[in-house]
Amino acid sequence: MHDLIIIGAGVSGAAIARELSKYKLDVCVLEKCQDLCEGTSKANSGIVHAGYDATPGSLKAKLNVRGNEMMTELCKDLDIPFKRNGSLVVSIHKETVDGLKDLYDRGIQNGVKGMKILSREEALQLEPNLSDQVQGALLAETAGIICPFKLNIAMAENANVNGVEFRFNTRVEDIKKDQEGLWHIRTNNGEYICKYIVNAAGVYAGDIHNMVSQDKMSITPRRGDYCLLDKEAGGHVSHTIFPQPTNLGKGVLVSPTVHGNLIVGPTAIDIDDKEATATSQEGINILIEKASDHVKDLPMRKVITSFAGLRAHGTKGDFIIQEVKDAPGFIDCAGIESPGLTSSPAIGEMVANLLVEKLDLKKKEKWIGTRKDILNPAELSLEERNELIKKNPAYGNIVCRCESISEGEIIDAIRRPLGARTLDGIKRRTRAGMGRCQSGFCSPKTMEILHRELGLAYEEIEKSGPGSEIVLERTKNQKGGNY
């Protein structure tokens, strides 16, 4: 029995878990996947938005601006990379260039600082690779880029160190309230009992909500295709470049990533299947076409991977963060689409405040607010690196040559709290396999380390969870057979 259960270990669930870990409360997180950051949180733009898009007064507006403000200190505490590279909304039509002023005004109403409307010349001076058609741009200096995996994983790890439990491969199947007012959560992994529930289930938040409420909720998965380009293309633009927004979203952006690649995306295609993260040729074609409207000479030949993510689009258009009226003790955190990543720290804070007030929670005497990320030896001097290798020779063995990731970093990713159990888990924590060869060379070596560290047979090693095993069986020779 737990005081509170959070459903979903995406970035919202992790942020809420970390905020609640400050208080005297027994919290557990249930996650249907094998790892943290497996749904919407793993496949998005990795942008920390400034906050001029959202309708003034909406939760999106409020939490975006607050989340943006919190990000610098949070990333310092969690020791993860974050860069305020600034964003440009670019207008390429004379007829719509005035729309930039509307965005600016909205930004002012939302409390966004550091905005400026740029002329065509000023915009081109800042970003020489903008389209020749550019008419003007809105600069937002507070916008930034972040690693979505690292933010999610770091917040969860930190919550875990402060006492929050995590249960993976645990899918919620039904929720009932008993006569004493306790929630009984049936999962594929047994029953969990708790006093309070926070629903942070991403595209499944509607399904979870509907288990307890008559006031039905519908979440539409809105697919976004992305292309990620080689680091050689990472300097094509230095700001995050947006088109002018439409009612479908912020449009196809072109941005450097915090790790130095270039990202192009997303599309916005509403679908029915909440697992349908397949990219489509049509989607990728749209990306190439739309991105080229605003940025010229995009080196699309340098694409190293493409992927699709599902945004959890709520019908009302705003985040839904509240206790459900006909289900006291059940709090929704739903419809968390863009700017969800940016807002996540503020979402955590808002949900925690709501519960602190309701339950009169007291702070723990001891709470550890900081953590050290997996060491990045590339940031060390030659002497420091030598010292490190002397102490731990595993840092002298490069496993992923594209991203220059050592065995030491991979072992750290496995051994740390809520550590990696799969190839994708290692990839998201260390970037091993995320470079231009896309794990061609390092996957057999990473498998060997997983085998050794976790005692997994090779046949049990998964890419991303049950059903995603990498190899089937031993070869004939190894089985002692003949050809």
């Binding site: 292309c227 990620l228 697992e275 993260t277 397949a278 990219t279 489509s280 040729q281 989607g283 990728i284 694409v303 190293i304 991977t305 493409s306 992927f307 030659l382 690196r385 030598n386 290798i389 002397k390 020779p393 595993a394 002298g396 063995n397 490069i398 040559r401 594209c402 220059s404 231009r436 060869c437 896309q438 794990s439 061609g440 060379f441 996957s443 057999p444 498998m447 060997e448 090779y458 046949e459 998964e462 890419k463 991303s464 969870g465 049950p466 059903g467 995603s468 095993e469 990498i470 190899v471 089937l472 069986e473 031993r474 070869t475 004939k476 020779n477 190894q478 050809y483």
Partner: protein, 421 residues
């Protein structure tokens, strides 16, 4: 800082042949840096035969071929370090390397020979739509899993791309009891050697579908099926031609890319066609004293040619450090590839520095039947060799003789082209 006359980056077939040649030319102080746990490079996982027909006049397996060179390296007492990753090369030839045992350290090299090889083009670079499940491998990764680690990826296989590793793996997986359902190739011709198509596909009844590509990948966790479609002459899928194949493995053999990350850190200039360094007759890059050979220079079809080329690089690097390579006068003869010849290696010749004979290697951009390889000295056609068939999967060569070039003191450009008559 440690110092060596020649530092060779990579202990595969190119690096080993370069080392042996440099030693035979007279250089004592040579160091080979190899990132893997043994010498031999990618040959160690190429356990099929067919290597060495040109060099040794016999058919060897990959490891056997490599060992012929390893033996010579051992006999010559050439120094090498295993499990050592080169992290950086500077334009003034300082090599930064790292290993578990020795930590991170720097070496000042009199000359550097780049011999890092190449890597496979991954799925992501191919823009194949669909899911991103387990069960998709580049052919070389699957080859390593099967031949080195001893694990079979799956039993129902589709292969996209007809590069040599894909063809070899079609046979290998079949011998392991897997069913290889089809090999799809985007181009109207195979990217691999004719002999591999015969020995690895035809002999096992595996269909090769030219002008076909994968247009969908099914299976969220593990691949369960792919859809293949015919493509038009611009490479676009033709609606209505889709065929679905259930499978648990998709192998990709869609091209190799020279691994020139280190070369770039040193400021080595690249040829956009080969993705390898631009080199002169001595296989020297734009940076004096930095040489290149093997698949890091341009992707070869046969390892025999890698060994031969690397021998030349080793010889030139040795002459460089011994002060025997005539100074580069900066006015080389340019070599131009056009009309079907995609590139040449090398791309310039300084006649004073060339040997009596020099092999010019290149690839063609399409299949040519009963056509001619022509060489022009400026406007004058000096060579016109009929070839029954030329294909992009196989390297072509012409041999230039020094005395012919010496006889043309005002020669500016040598042109290599493919002519119908």
């Amino acid at each position: 800082m440690q110092t060596y006359d020649i530092v060779i980056i990579g202990g595969g077939p190119a690096g080993l042949a370069a080392a042996i040649s440099a030693r035979k030319t007279g250089v004592e102080s040579i160091l080979v840096l190899e990132r893997d746990k043994e010498l031999g490079g990618i040959l160690n996982q190429c356990i099929h035969n067919g290597f060495g027909l040109h060099t040794f006049k016999e058919e060897l397996t990959g490891p056997e071929y490599a060992y012929r060179f390893v033996e010579q390296v051992l006999a010559e007492n050439i120094e090498y370090r295993l499990n050592t990753m080169v992290m950086d090369i500077s334009s003034d030839r300082v090599v930064t390397a790292m290993s578990k045992e020795d930590g991170m350290y720097q070496i000042k090299a009199g000359a550097i020979i780049l011999a890092m090889g190449c890597r496979e083009r991954p799925r992501g670079a191919l823009n194949i739509p669909g899911y991103r499940p387990a069960g998709i491998f580049s052919a070389g990764t699957a080859q390593r899993l099967v031949n080195i680690e001893g694990y079979l990826p799956g039993r129902q296989v589709v292969i996209l791309g007809s590069g040599d590793i894909g063809l070899i793996m079609a046979r290998r997986m079949t011998l392991e009891g897997a069913e290889v359902k089809v090999v799809a190739e985007l181009m109207p011709y195979s990217g691999g050697l004719k002999r591999n198509i015969v020995q690895c596909l035809d002999d096992f009844g595996i269909p090769l579908k030219l002008s076909h590509t994968v247009v969908d990948i099914e299976g969220k966790d593990h691949i369960s099926a792919v859809t293949i479609a015919a493509v038009d002459d611009r490479g676009k899928p033709i609606p209505g031609t889709e065929e679905r194949y259930s499978c648990d493995t998709l192998l990709l053999s869609c091209g190799l890319i020279p691994e020139n990350e280190l070369s770039r850190t040193a400021g080595v200039e690249m040829n956009p066609v080969t993705s390898g360094p631009i080199v002169n007759e001595s296989l020297e890059t734009n940076i004096p004293g930095i040489f290149a050979c093997g698949n890091v220079l341009h992707v070869h079809d046969l390892v025999d040619y890698v060994s031969e080329e690397a021998g030349r690089a080793g010889n030139a690097a040795a002459k460089f450090v011994m002060g025997q390579l005539p100074a580069d006068k900066g006015k080389p003869v340019e070599i131009k590839a056009c009309d079907g010849a995609r590139y040449t290696v090398p791309s310039t010749i300084d006649i004073d520095r060339m040997d009596d004979k020099m092999t010019l290697r290149f690839r063609v951009g399409a299949v040519y039947k009963d056509s001619y390889v022509s060489v022009y000295f400026d406007d004058e056609r000096v060579m016109h060799n009929k070839k029954r068939i030329m294909a992009p999967g196989e390297m072509e060569q012409v041999i230039l003789l020094k005395d012919k070039l010496v006889a043309k003191p005002h020669l500016k450009t040598i042109t290599v082209k493919i002519e119908a008559q």
